[in-house]
Symmetry: C2
Subunit: 394 residues, 2 copies
């Protein structure tokens, strides 16, 4: 008989992807420029020219060698490139043996969770959070334990997290710069978390993994993004080149098992085993070669910075409230009524596609992705004004 | 705590991949031409020139649109291309809604098994079989039930399969042309299987899926490969372009949910849900576009046909016995002692890398992949002779 859980997941796709699909349909109906699609994190900045040139050049190489299977964790040269990059950027000695290339951060998270959690375990997730964490935690047979962040700073509530840790806690997911809020957790905040995790490891005699989901690490507007493996040794970094190299559809990322943890070898085996078990063979051989050449290219954050200015200034002028975004390309905007689903629905009537916070385990907000064309943001202002007015007529 | 099952899978990689990794290392030590690597199914035929040209051309398109996320089951145009291909090749009306693009056949199988099996269910696998079936069946929480094929024809033993079906049987995996044996199941054999499955569905009031693993469908040497959805309606086809377009490292394949089954919509939801749950987002956006253009290119089977002749004639001349291969690029050769592990180990001392049948749930054989350079096969003959002689000295 079919697996009911899978039917459920398939028949009710996640809110972001549903809205994204609606946007494609709606644009076809009324015109690309009439829909203001703030739904998905599809980068609007093109992949660097060097990526395109690299692929063109690779097309002159022997296609047999170019497109053949690579070892499951990736080509040694590509893993070495990642290790070198980590070493250069963060000053920690990284070994390619602890790098496992993945089909983006989604695969990285699913693999990490299946590697470190057993059926019945618990995984702590600060809320609001990226919608699919719950799916992948439950895939591992574990339970999600939601702990709200502090409001309005949206920093981690370490006291509440510590209180939520039990002998069954296998991991905590930390996503900074944060999707959906755009917050960056401060060094002080992360050090307090690390101390709490270590205390609880000692108290219960367990191992608690910190899964650092970092696809937005390079997209920041001035604040420091502390490198978590240097703060808490039992860290698994999940990284993606979707945003920084603007290659979301090519599925390229990695897991880095910090070699500062005491059980690094066993953990690396578990990661490789989980990848195998979930059906992953290797990342695109072509894009592994692109990675070797392009990993150090800087991200083009400028376009997002401009978008952020236009959007936040426009919203402020109308009267909307939001969390000042420190990183990523998401804005966490207060809904104009308590029911964020109803608010997002009313926005839709004004052709504004925004994701309700309920889908992120939050209440009373919506997420706006501003990794879109600048004109779309500018042209959406009248619709945002009308939406505001519709709540302030009486 | 770490998941013990994943540590086990990661610390003992599958036999094929271990031998493949050993081969890379050994070639670096003693020279590429000194190692006769029959271990892995890495196609030796290059991807068609049109694939390379298509990628070059795509590099002139807008990189934002080119590399962005696609819908999870794939771009509509790519799924339509697959549906059209199915319709043209097999004369069955196929709808893109029932096509789900995957990261190759491995992901397709892992997804199908998680979609149709529940914890505690059973999945029947005719032996010998591709080693990873067991991994993905257990990932779904189900149990593998091995049923040996008939010897020496290596056709399905339908009577034994029917006897093995219980109310817990969720699926059977059918792999034709077969890896590792190279057999193709005849129409008569498959019709008998379909009748048995239908009888048991009626008897137990259950739904039994036939998962058709077909990466080698196009690689045949004259025999008919019946299209299973036309024979048994509750069929899920798992296909890969790894072999036919020689793109194994790019991970491109699909699941086709036959729309002849009575629960096609629910099954399609379960497939989409399982993909989501296992961490899959979408296949490479670039290679989806390659697929749209190149799906109808014919496979270059000629090189494999020549290799097959050279290898089988060479082995016959020495005295080896093997199963006459009807398809794929694998030869199932009788080991020269009962213990196939010991035989493969002795072969290794002669720099011959062959996979022992134990890894495929078989006994007393080895698998030789002949999708390798022709010279390697020719040059391996003295080593194969020495190996033979080492068993016939006394």
């Amino acid at each position: 008989m079919l697996n009911e859980r899978m039917i459920g997941l398939g028949s009710a796709p996640n809110a972001i992807r549903s809205l994204f699909a609606y946007g494609i349909k709606r644009k076809a109906e009324i015109g690309e420029d009439k829909v203001f699609d703030y739904s998905i994190g599809n980068p609007s900045v093109p992949a660097p020219q060097q990526v395109t040139e690299c692929i063109k050049r690779l097309m002159d190489e022997d296609p047999v060698a170019l497109h053949s299977y690579t070892p499951s964790p990736g080509m040694l040269e590509a893993r070495q490139a990642v290790a070198n990059h980590i070493q250069r950027e963060f000053g920690v000695a990284a070994d390619p043996a602890q790098v496992y290339l993945t089909h983006g951060a989604a695969a990285a998270l699913a693999i990490c969770l299946s590697a470190v959690a057993c059926p019945g375990d618990e995984v702590i997730v600060p809320t609001p959070y990226f919608t699919e964490y719950k799916t992948w935690i439950e895939q591992a047979g574990a339970h999600i334990v939601e702990v709200p962040c502090q409001v309005p700073s949206f920093q981690l509530d370490v006291e509440a997290i510590e209180a939520a840790i039990t002998p069954k806690t296998a991991a905590i997911i930390v996503d900074s710069p944060n999707n959906p809020v755009g917050a960056i957790y401060s060094r002080e905040n992360l050090e307090a978390l690390a101390a709490a995790l270590s205390r609880k490891e000692a108290e219960f005699g367990t191992k608690i993994y910190l899964i650092a989901d970092e696809p937005y690490r390079a997209i920041t507007y001035g604040d420091e993004v502390p490198y978590i493996p240097c703060i808490y040794p039992r860290t698994l970094v999940c990284y993606s080149f979707s945003k920084t190299l603007s290659l979301p559809g090519e599925r390229l990322g990695y897991i880095y098992v910090s070699n500062l943890m005491d059980n690094v070898e066993e953990t690396t085996f578990a990661i490789q085993g989980a990848g195998r078990s979930l059906g992953y063979i290797c990342c695109s051989a072509l894009f592994q070669r692109v990675l070797i050449e392009c990993i150090d290219l800087p991200s083009d954050v400028e376009a997002y910075r401009v978008n952020r200015e236009i959007l936040t200034q426009g919203l402020s002028k109308i009267g909307y409230e939001y969390v000042e975004p420190q990183g990523a390309f998401y804005l966490w905007v207060k809904a104009l009524e308590d029911d964020d689903l109803a608010f997002a629905q009313r926005a839709k009537e004004h052709e504004l596609l925004v994701c309700p916070s309920s889908g992120f385990g939050g209440k009373g907000y919506v997420r706006m992705s501003y990794c879109i064309a600048r004109e779309t943001i500018e042209n959406s202002m009248p619709a945002l004004q009308e939406l505001w007015d519709s709540y302030h007529q009486d």
